[in-house]
Symmetry: C2
Subunit: 318 residues, 2 copies
C-alpha cells in the first residue's frame, strides 16, 4: 500500500465488509496477511472499471462501487468459489468527500451482503477508475472452469439477457424505452447481481461455467474453445424482455454484454437436480437455451440457422 | 477476467514468469486457482501506476512494466514475504503493438528475475494506467509489520535515498544534473530495486519494516504510529549522493519518495548479524540512520534538531 493516502483510507475504507474467513493483518501495512484454511484452494481475479469506458460518466458513486465489486464477485461465482477478501485501487480526479462517502457506503453494503472483507488497497489522483481484486476460496478440486463441457450437455443461463446493454443504449439515446422497462434495464446495467447463490450448484453439477460480461455469443465461445466442443443456441429460448422479443432485437441478448449472468453447461443426467433448483429458486432460474454438440456453433431461429463462428462480442482493443 | 481481450492477453501475456509455487489454473478462465503450501500464509498487496501521476508521460513501456511490478514486490519485501503470483490490469489508450511488445518483454524479464508468475488479469482501453496485485507467501507467523519497533532499536535503510526524486526533478527541469549523476538518478526513478534479498534478514531480525515509497519522514512515521514509539534521524548519516550533500538538498532524501528502499528497525542485540549482512552484501548495505526512542520524532543535524511531527511526505489527495 502506498502509505500517504493513509488518512483517506482510514477515514472511508477502514471497515468495509466482514467475511467468514479470518484476516490476520488487514489494511494499514505494506500488505495484508491471510490464512487459507486447510483443504481450500485460492481463487483470484481482477477487474477494472473506467469512467466513460465501463460505465457512463454520469453513473453515481454508489452504482460504481456496487458494480466494481459485483463484476469481480461474478467471476468467483463462475468458478464456484466463495468470496473471502478483496483489495481496492481507486483513482479519483479530486478528493470529493461526498463522492467518497457515497462510494464507501455502497461498497460497504455490497461487501457485507456477500461476506467479503476489504483488506487493503491504494488510492491516488487520476482519471476516475476502480480496480478490485477479489480472492475466493473453494474446497480442493471443486472449482469449475471453462473446460469440461461435453456434447449432449445442456447450455443454461441464470437470468434475463440483454437488459444491461439495452439500458446502456437508452442512456446513450440510441433507443427510447418506456417506463418501467427503462428503470429495469438501467438497474440491470448499474446493479448486476453476482450469482454467488449458484456456487454450490455449479460446483456439484456444472461441467463448465463462465460469467457473461461481454455477451453470450462471445463468452460461450470461450467455453467451446476451452472444452473443444460446439453448441447450438435456440434464439426463441433466450430469456429476454418483451421489448426485445417484439422488436426482434435479440442482438442485445446475444452480444450486448454486461449481463453478469452465469452461463453453464450441465450433463443431461442432472436434469432432476436442475428442476429441483428451479423449483426452489424462483429468483434465480436456470434457463436452458441450447445444447453442446461436437463441433460447429450455430444460432437457431425456428428453421433458420446462423453460423456463429465468426461473430464477436465487444472486442477490447478491437 | 473480462474475456474478449482474450487474443491480446494470449498474444502478449500468456507466458510471463515462472515461480517456485505451482499454479493450478492460470490465465484464460474467469479466475486463477492457486495452491497455498501447508504452513504458509498469504501476503497480498495492490498498487496502481498512472501516467503523468506516478511516472512522467515520456516513460518507456519497458520502464513502466519494470516499475509497476517492482513497487509491488517492494511491498512483499517489506513484509518478508516471497513472491508467488501476480495479476495485471492494464488500461491503454490504443492497441499500440510495439508498446505492448516492449511492455510484456520487460514484465517477463522482471517476473522471471523474481520468480513470480502472471496468473491473470484484464486489459481495456482507457487512460494509460497499470495496476498490479501481488501475492507472496511467508512461513506461518514470520511476516514483519510496521508495528513492533521498540525504544533502543536501530533505524536502518537499505540503500541510497533521494536519487529517485532528484531524477524526477531533473526530468521536470527543476534541477540540472551533470552526467553520470543524471543517469544514475533517472535509473533510480524508473528502475527501483525491490529488496527481496532482504526478506530472510528482515524475517529473522527486524522488529518492524516498511518500504519507502513516499519519502523517509512520512514512511518512518507509519512505523512510529503503528509501534507507538518515536525516533531520531541523523541527517548526516543518511546515505545520499554527493550532489545532495554539497547542495544541502536533503529534502530529496527525507521526503522525496519513490526510493523503494526498505526502512527497518533492528534490536541492538542483533548488531553482529547486521555486520555480517553488510560484509556479505556489498550491493545491499543496511545503513544506520537513527534510533527508535520512546516518543518525539526529531531530525538531528549536528547540534540542531528539527521536530518532524508535522512534516508530511507527498500527500495523495492533498
Amino acid at each position: 500500500m502506498r502509505s500517504n493516502e493513509f488518512s483517506l483510507i482510514e477515514r472511508f475504507f477502514a471497515d468495509i465488509g466482514r467475511g467468514e474467513f479470518p484476516v490476520r493483518l488487514s489494511q494499514g501495512d505494506d500488505a495484508a496477511v491471510l490464512d487459507v484454511p486447510p483443504g481450500m484452494q485460492v481463487v483470484m481475479s481482477i477487474d477494472t472499471l473506467i469512467s466513460g469506458v465501463h460505465f457512463p460518466e454520469q453513473t453515481s458513486a454508489a452504482d460504481i462501487a456496487y458494480k466494481a465489486l459485483a463484476v469481480n464477485l461474478s467471476d468467483l461465482a463462475a468458478m464456484a468459489a466463495k468470496p473471502a477478501w478483496f483489495l481496492l485501487s481507486l483513482s479519483l480526479p479530486d478528493d470529493d468527500e461526498d463522492w467518497l462517502e457515497e462510494f464507501s457506503k455502497s461498497l460497504g453494503q455490497m461487501s457485507q451482503r456477500h461476506q467479503i472483507e476489504l483488506v487493503g488497497g491504494d488510492t491516488c489522483r487520476g482519471p476516475l477508475s476502480v480496480t478490485i481484486q477479489v480472492t475466493g476460496l473453494v474446497p480442493e478440486g471443486q472449482y469449475v472452469t471453462r473446460a469440461g463441457a461435453q456434447a449432449g450437455d445442456r447450455v443454461l443461463v441464470s437470468g434475463v439477457l440483454g437488459n444491461a446493454s439495452l439500458g446502456l443504449a437508452h442512456l446513450q439515446q440510441r433507443v427510447h424505452l418506456p417506463e418501467p422497462l427503462r428503470e429495469l434495464c438501467v438497474t440491470a446495467l448499474n446493479r448486476p447481481k453476482p450469482r454467488l447463490d449458484l456456487s454450490d450448484f455449479i460446483a456439484q453439477f456444472a461441467s463448465a461455467a463462465i460469467d457473461l460480461s461481454d455477451g453470450l455469443v462471445g463468452d460461450l465461445a470461450h467455453i467451446l474453445r476451452s472444452s473443444r466442443v460446439g453448441a447450438t443456441i435456440n434464439q426463441f429460448a433466450l430469456p429476454v424482455n418483451d421489448w426485445i422479443r417484439k422488436n426482434d432485437a435479440f442482438d442485445y441478448a446475444l452480444t450486448g454484454g454486461d449481463d453478469y449472468e452465469i452461463c453453464c453447461t450441465l450433463p443431461s443426467k442432472y436434469q432432476d437436480h436442475l428442476d429441483d433448483w428451479n423449483q426452489a429458486h424462483p429468483e434465480c432460474q436456470l434457463i436452458e437455451i441450447g445444447e453442446i454438440i461436437k463441433s460447429d456453433y450455430t444460432l437457431m431461429k425456428g428453421n433458420h440457422s446462423t453460423d456463429l463462428k465468426h461473430w464477436q462480442g465487444y472486442q477490447h482493443f478491437g
